[in-house]
């Protein structure tokens, strides 16, 4: 293949430093100095050896004297369903600001330690996201509020109830406002209803930081309902997204990603896939997955929507001057009209006018009833920004006597947060029921912290007719109370929320058995659950519960002309525009206290622990003088973590100074900054000092909040700031000097023309050994080993991988992979066993992006195994490349010899597991960040998986194919005296072994199982996708047990690699 893939600019240009970096994986020198004087040497090494000798002897003597007496304390009365050491799974629901995902909590000896998706949920089909995976740690967050407070002083629940009760009755008729994020819990809404009824004149204000006001209002204008319909990306043959990051952060990515991927799966006999156009200003993960991607300034979104509508119906006018963009719109319009009823246009703008135009487009292409369905509405976002603005006005006017805040944080997320804070001061009674001491809670007199969702009862209805139930999986850790209980207490209800919730669902479901079944399944919906439950609730639930009818809704395009006119009158953008975007892990700040999410590399920038200004290569040149075609410049930019700091100033707002990262694919006149950073220091050591807050740059125009700033100035400050990016490890040169690509990709057109291109490539590469057939035996001087019984194998479909990072976090949790903190990531000491490599190819201004999850490939002829001097890494008869941590002496030869660079070395005592005190603050190996210490507190350690060793300093570690799960699966099969089940994951069949990454993946990109079994899922995938199958770096004869399925992009022509010419 001619195409060139690159992960960084140095690699694109083959710069000297990048080559050197590639040669030398471990970049730093050992901290020793040479000296002639034996006893006065400044080195630590000799001292170290002296002390080592002494301490070993001492330890031996001490250890041989006495063994510690250990206790074994059984239960006094064993609960019936708990067997020590055996995990139980409970269905519950992850809820975060309206986002609700059905999950299973793995509870081991009373502690939830892992979250898995719930297969019974037809919305996610068992998929999860990085945020969902990481949510289990927020249960053990040391920064959680641990008791109710009044003015910051601890009080009892009884006392605060009384105090708040008195305060509320003493308002003298002033209204009570309940300020929440979107709540879609049916019983919770009833509780809120009771509360509102108890305090007449009170109101419920719904405010979402991640606002969908534009969409909601446009739908109200066009469909008469302030609601969001269901989107079905699976049915769409042509998808056009105008800046909507629907695979990462837009609306319900966990529902959309599997739908989207359904249309992207390739049937080799009849290759066809959906066509995805993305128009956007910065490079999102959705844009990275698109077939055709066009960049534009954020202020042009409206014009593009109008131009698209114009191309389809002739309405409006096409005011696009950029030729590439124009061609793109024409092409998209052509495809949309050719696929009437099978197209879908979504838009990420929060402007109701633009969304009305998008509605008009969807109406024109017949999306209603097909890809857009009004029979079930998406209830995950319901907040309208003007409601909060109205509340602030009322608060200022003194009309509001009390505000009760539930999981909402406007003091941080509202653009004019000072106005909110000032207004809140005028309110007599401010109560926060948020779980943490966030920006808003700090302003409230009364605080009753909420339970974590794993401690709560509840329900959620993210989409009408699809209910997910919640049950507690652990006793509350602290003196907290879930908000429903608090409200019920205040209205003087006789029962607690648990009883209330149970009675509510007994009423809907009919009887106790049905309720228990529903609780066990975790979901109540139209499919997949016992039909008796479904039929019994079908009539009782307001929304339709049976199969979606494909309701097109009644469209009324009356307002569209006015909307088009309004778009024309939008303020024209300046020279440089700013987009405030959300990251998949951090979101609007809800992930900022979670070290797993902070250390999750951003899929596109590969940066951790910070927000920054992303700029285009063109702007880098014009603004900072970094010419990415100049090797010296590239090296100066790439090799050191220090990045130039720029000052971004929006009109009338304080400037913000942040470091830059150059991201190809960002529009030359646009910069992007992620929200959700710069949190208050009361949120714990993880969030403290990470990034800067930019929510204040959002603006409210009377209707909706805009996350785009049309005119900003960007200036160089001359300072630098270190950004911790993940090392680009892939760089691989063969001894012969040929660069070899680690990924394979081709266009749909090419695949149709020559389906055997990849197969022929592989045949060609292995031709000296008689081709693929005899390659395994002929290509080596080592003997051939039999593979009796099980031979584990994994297949990763690059067409299905969206790069979201759920697998990375899942792997961290399952395998006790340590958090290393920013200072260590900066030195490339990150410990991710599984990383998602991001490759660019083609045009530097608008490249194509491929994501490749890369974990240990478990080579059957592994180069790492041969070089280990102590045989700490060796091969199992089941094909697993094993690590025996206790044998490892840390030579790192294996990592040096690994062509995939997937072995990670414990440079420091990240887990605090060593017996030496203060080992983590030792300047020789690096003072570890506070976030690392947070992971080692007794509370946070409760999340560790007891089945996996916590590795100590100085040993190598890497992906183990989740060997603990393999062993458990085998044991279960043996206990039941049957062969291992490694079939496909379906509703009827749960295979014995699923790796953590596989189980977390929302799109089913990863398949794992016994490759010796012809009926296993992995064998079938390999059999059915022979033409796309490849092993990374196959020609090395390392014989990986992981295979990939090549990425196919629905394009006609191949992108050509061009250097930047501007």
């Amino acid at each position: 293949m001619e195409k060139k893939y690159w992960q960084n600019f140095g690699e694109l240009n083959d710069s000297e430093a990048s080559k050197k970096a590639a040669d030398n994986e471990f970049r730093e020198e050992l901290p020793f100095e040479l000296s002639d004087k034996l006893f006065k040497a400044p080195t630590q090494r000799r001292d170290f050896l002296k002390y080592l000798g002494f301490s070993t002897t001492a330890a031996m003597i001490a250890a041989s004297c006495e063994m510690p007496v250990r206790k074994a304390i059984p239960f006094a009365n064993k609960p019936e369903d708990i067997v020590p050491g055996v995990a139980n799974y409970y269905a519950t629901t992850y809820v975060q600001d309206g986002e609700a995902i059905s999950v299973l909590a793995k509870v081991r000896d009373g502690r939830p330690i892992k979250i898995e998706g719930n297969y019974l949920s037809p919305l996610t089909n068992g998929g999860t996201s990085a945020k969902v995976q990481a949510s289990v740690l927020s249960l053990y967050d040391t920064a959680r509020l641990k008791f109710p407070t009044i003015d910051g002083k601890e009080v009892t629940l009884e006392y605060i109830d009384q105090a708040v009760g008195t305060a509320l009755t003493g308002l003298g008729g002033a209204q009570v406002a309940l300020l929440t994020s979107t709540i879609n819990s049916p019983s919770g809404l009833e509780v809120i209803g009771q509360f509102l009824a108890k305090y007449p004149g009170s109101r419920h204000v719904v405010y979402d930081a991640d606002s969908y006001t534009g969409l909601l209002l446009a739908n109200e204008a066009n469909y008469g309902k302030r609601a969001i319909p269901s989107y079905n990306f699976a049915k769409a043959k042509v998808i056009v997204s105008l800046g909507a990051d629907f695979l990462g952060t837009w609306l319900s990515p966990d529902e959309f990603a599997p739908q989207y991927v359904k249309g992207r799966k390739i049937d080799e006999k009849n290759p066809a896939m959906s066509k995805h156009y993305q128009f956007e200003s910065i490079l999102s993960i959705t844009g990275s997955n698109a077939d055709e991607r066009y960049t534009h300034k954020p202020s042009e979104t409206g014009a593009i929507a109008v131009a698209l509508l114009n191309a389809l119906t002739g309405e409006g006018a096409a005011n696009i001057s950029d030729a590439k963009l124009k061609a793109g719109i024409a092409k998209a319009a052509k495809d949309l009209s050719a696929n009437r009823g099978a197209g879908l246009v979504v838009c990420g703008s929060n402007d109701p006018n633009i969304q009305q135009v998008v509605n008009a487009i969807n109406n024109a292409i017949g999306a209603g009833g097909n890809t857009i369905d009004w029979s079930s509405v998406n209830k995950s976002k319901a907040g309208v920004d003007s409601d909060l603005a109205g509340l602030i006005n009322d608060m200022n006017a003194g009309r509001v006597g009390a505000v009760v805040i539930i999981s909402s944080n406007p003091a941080y997320t509202w653009g004019d947060s000072k106005a909110f804070a000032n207004a809140l001061k005028k309110v007599k009674v401010a109560v926060s029921l948020n779980p943490k001491n966030d920006e808003t809670t700090q302003l409230c007199k009364y605080v009753i912290p909420d339970h974590h969702y794993l401690e709560s009862w509840g329900d959620a209805e993210p989409k009408s007719g699809f209910v997910s139930l919640m049950q507690p999986t652990i006793n509350p850790l602290f003196k907290t109370r879930q908000w429903q209980d608090t409200l019920l207490k205040w209205v003087g209800a006789a029962s607690d929320y648990h009883t209330y919730f149970k009675n509510y669902w007994l009423g809907k479901l009919g009887n106790e058995t049905a309720f228990d079944k529903a609780l066990q399944a975790g979901v109540v919906n139209n499919a997949s659950v016992n039909t008796s439950i479904v039929s019994s609730i079908a009539d009782t639930l307001a929304a339709p519960v049976r199969a979606l009818t494909g309701n097109a809704g009644s469209y009324n395009g009356g307002g569209v002309t006015a909307a088009i006119a309004a778009i024309g009158n939008l303020p024209k953008g300046g020279d440089v525009e700013l987009v405030l975007y959300k990251k998949v892990g951090i979101g609007c700040g809800e992930g900022s206290g979670n070290p797993w999410l902070q250390e999750l590399p951003d899929p596109v920038t590969r940066a951790t622990w910070d927000n920054y200004v992303i700029i285009s290569p063109a702007m880098a040149k014009s603004l900072l003088g970094i010419d990415l075609n100049n090797n010296a410049h590239v090296d100066a930019y790439e090799v050191h973590p220090a990045k130039d700091v720029v000052k971004v100033t929006a009109k009338g707002k304080d400037p913000v100074s942040l470091p830059i990262l150059i991201v190809p694919g960002v529009h030359p006149n646009t910069v992007g900054i992620a929200v959700g950073y710069g949190r208050t220091d009361k949120l714990g050591k993880v969030a403290e000092g990470v990034g800067k807050d930019v929510f204040y740059l959002t603006s409210f125009n009377g209707t909706s909040v805009s996350f785009e700033v049309p005119g900003v100035t960007v200036e160089k400050t001359g300072d630098t700031y270190d950004v911790a990016q993940i090392q680009t490890h892939n760089i691989y040169d063969t001894p012969m000097g040929n660069r070899t690509e680690v990924v394979k990709e081709l266009t749909l057109a090419a695949f149709k023309k020559d389906p055997e291109e990849i197969l022929n490539d592989r045949e060609y590469e292995t031709r000296h050994y008689g081709g693929l057939e005899s390659y395994e035996k002929q290509g080596t001087i080592y003997p051939y080993y039999d593979k009796p019984g099980i031979h584990w194998g994994m297949s990763v479909d690059l067409n299905s991988c969206t790069g979201c990072g759920a697998c990375v976090v899942a792997c961290h949790i399952e395998n006790n992979v340590p958090i290393v903190g920013k200072s260590e990531v900066k030195r490339f000491h990150d410990m991710h066993w599984l990383r998602i490599d991001r490759y660019y190819s083609g045009d530097m201004d608008n490249p194509q992006v491929v994501f490749q999850p890369l974990m240990c490939q478990h080579c059957d002829n592994a180069p790492c195994e041969n070089v280990c001097p102590v045989s700490a890494t060796n091969h199992s008869s089941e094909g697993i490349n094993q690590m025996a941590y206790n044998r490892c002496i840390g030579t790192k030869y294996c990592a040096n010899n690994c062509p995939y660079k997937v072995r990670r070395f414990n440079w420091a005592d990240y887990n605090g597991g060593d017996s030496f005190p203060d080992n983590q603050n030792f300047s020789g190996v690096g003072k570890l960040d506070p976030a690392v210490h947070v992971m080692n507190e007794d509370l946070t350690r409760m999340v560790l998986n007891p089945d996996v060793t916590v590795r100590s300093r100085g040993v190598m570690e890497k992906c183990s194919f989740c060997v603990q799960r393999c062993q458990e699966g085998k044991l279960n099969a043996k206990r039941e005296s049957r062969p291992l089940n490694s079939g496909e994951v379906t509703l009827e069949n749960t295979p014995d072994v699923q790796t953590a990454c596989q189980q977390a993946c929302a799109t089913g990109a990863i398949v794992f199982g016994n490759a010796n079994d012809k009926n296993s899922a992995v064998s079938k995938v390999r059999e059915n996708n022979k033409l796309r199958l490849f092993h990374s770096l196959e020609q090395l004869h390392v014989l990986p047990n992981v295979n990939y399925l090549a990425k196919v992009r629905n394009r006609e022509e191949e992108a050509v690699s061009t250097h930047h010419e501007g």
């Binding site: 059984p74 006094a76 020590p84 050491g85 019984g789 094993q882 690590m883 044998r887 060793t949 062993q967």
Partner: protein
């Protein structure tokens, strides 16, 4: 080397016993189910050979006129008593008019399975008494031999020393005769040859002791601490034949066999409040009052005899842990006992003969691996191994005669370390 020899001598007869037992088990499928049913339903009050709350069940069929009658009895004993059955009424009276719990949920087949199991157990018990107790003897022999070798070596060393001395004297006498001037005799403590040999011997012995000691660091074989309650396995699974699983409930499902919780103890000890068996002695030879130990249990349980027991008042008993595996070792009882059908005694010794529990096996990696090398998996009977086509082929072609744990990866690092 020496230790290894000792190990093998111990395991060999055990294996025969194991084979014999597994033969008995496989003889009747019913007996298998029966065992489970017996453990689940009967074992809290009945033993096969011992009188507990209820009578010993050995020979129960011979005491009753027919199985049908027995079925009735198990389903509802009071009905049988009311019907005036003579044997039933006598039995009822003999056991202080304690009524047997009714088991209406057990089907006729279930009860038959239990009866079959009881029959098998009877034969086993008979066989056990007949079987010679060879092992302790062997072990003792081994100890004697060590002493023998030691004494022999010492005698030989003295003989060699005497001979050398005689030789030296003779040489001196011969030299005197021949007029060769005698050199000043060097005392043996200054003789270089002696010193060299002595140093060498000292080095070897010292080296052996240090290595042996270092290898044994952290191992606790024969560890027998005092426990908060003098719990005698000899009395419970030994004399009273309580099934191991009745108390160690996790052994079939989980990693841990689990130490029984107080409520399990109280299942029986609600009724059994005094010890009337043989005299008990602790490791130091002091007599132990069994009844007093039961009182200790009551203290933990918060139970006063004669009053109803409230389990929520119970406090856990802090036993001293005897078997400690390092954290980096994954060991699962379910894997060994359930999937592998290994007998408890293989690793824990003849628990039924211990009073206080001690660590029987060294629990060293060498010990584990040795067992994995030699132990055969249930290749034919466990459906899991049907996947191993190649081994099936090899067995058919007589290339291999059996599949050991090692053959299925039992000696690989990540079998236990991950």
């Amino acid at each position: 080397m020496f230790k290894l020899r000792q190990l093998t001598t111990i395991t060999t007869p055990k294996k025969y016993l194991l084979l014999f037992v597994s033969f008995l088990f496989s003889a009747s499928l019913f007996a298998q189910d029966g065992k489970a049913l017996f453990t689940a339903n009967c074992a809290s009050c009945h033993s096969v050979t011992k009188k507990l709350t209820g009578p010993a069940l050995a020979g129960v069929e011979s005491r009753w006129p027919s199985r049908e009658k027995l079925h009735d009895w198990v389903h509802n004993s009071s009905k049988v008593i009311q019907s005036g059955d003579e044997y039933a009424v006598n039995l009822f009276n003999e056991y202080n008019k304690t009524q047997m719990t009714a088991f209406p949920q057990l089907s006729a087949q279930d009860i038959d399975a239990i009866l079959d199991y009881i029959k098998v157990e009877e034969t086993k018990a008979a066989a056990a008494t007949a079987a010679p107790v060879g092992e302790t003897q062997t072990a003792a022999d081994n100890g004697d031999q060590t002493l023998l070798y030691g004494i022999l070596t010492l005698i030989l060393a003295i003989v060699a020393f005497t001979l050398l001395y005689i030789n030296a004297n003779l040489k001196k006498m011969a030299d005197d005769k021949e007029g060769i001037p005698a050199t000043e005799p060097i005392p043996f403590w200054r003789n270089k040859a002696y010193i060299t040999v002595f140093t060498l011997v000292l080095f070897l012995i010292g080296g052996y002791l240090i290595t042996d000691g270092a290898v044994g660091l952290g191992r606790q074989q024969k560890y027998e601490p005092h426990q908060p309650i003098f719990f005698s396995h000899k009395v419970h699974p030994g004399v009273n034949q309580i099934n191991c699983q009745y108390c160690h409930i996790g052994v079939y499902q989980g990693k841990q066999a689990t130490i029984p919780t107080v409520n399990i103890c109280m299942n029986c000890h609600m009724a059994i409040n005094e010890y009337k068996g043989e005299k008990l002695f602790n490791a130091e030879g002091k007599e132990v009052d069994g009844t007093a130990e039961i009182q200790k249990l009551y203290k933990y349980a918060g139970f006063e005899p004669g009053k109803p027991w409230d389990p929520s008042k119970a406090k856990p008993i802090e036993w001293v842990r005897i078997h400690n595996l390092p954290d980096h070792v994954f060991f699962s009882h379910a894997q060994h006992v359930n999937a592998g059908r290994v007998q408890c005694q293989t690793c824990h010794g003849e628990v039924t003969s211990y009073n206080e529990m001690f660590q029987f096996a060294p629990l060293s990696m060498g010990w584990c691996i040795n067992c994995h090398r030699t132990t055969k998996v249930q290749f034919e009977s466990n459906g899991f191994y049907s996947m191993y086509e190649k081994y099936k082929e090899d067995i058919k072609n007589h290339k291999m005669d059996s599949v050991t744990v090692k053959d299925i990866g039992g000696a690989e690092c990540q079998k236990c370390h991950y």
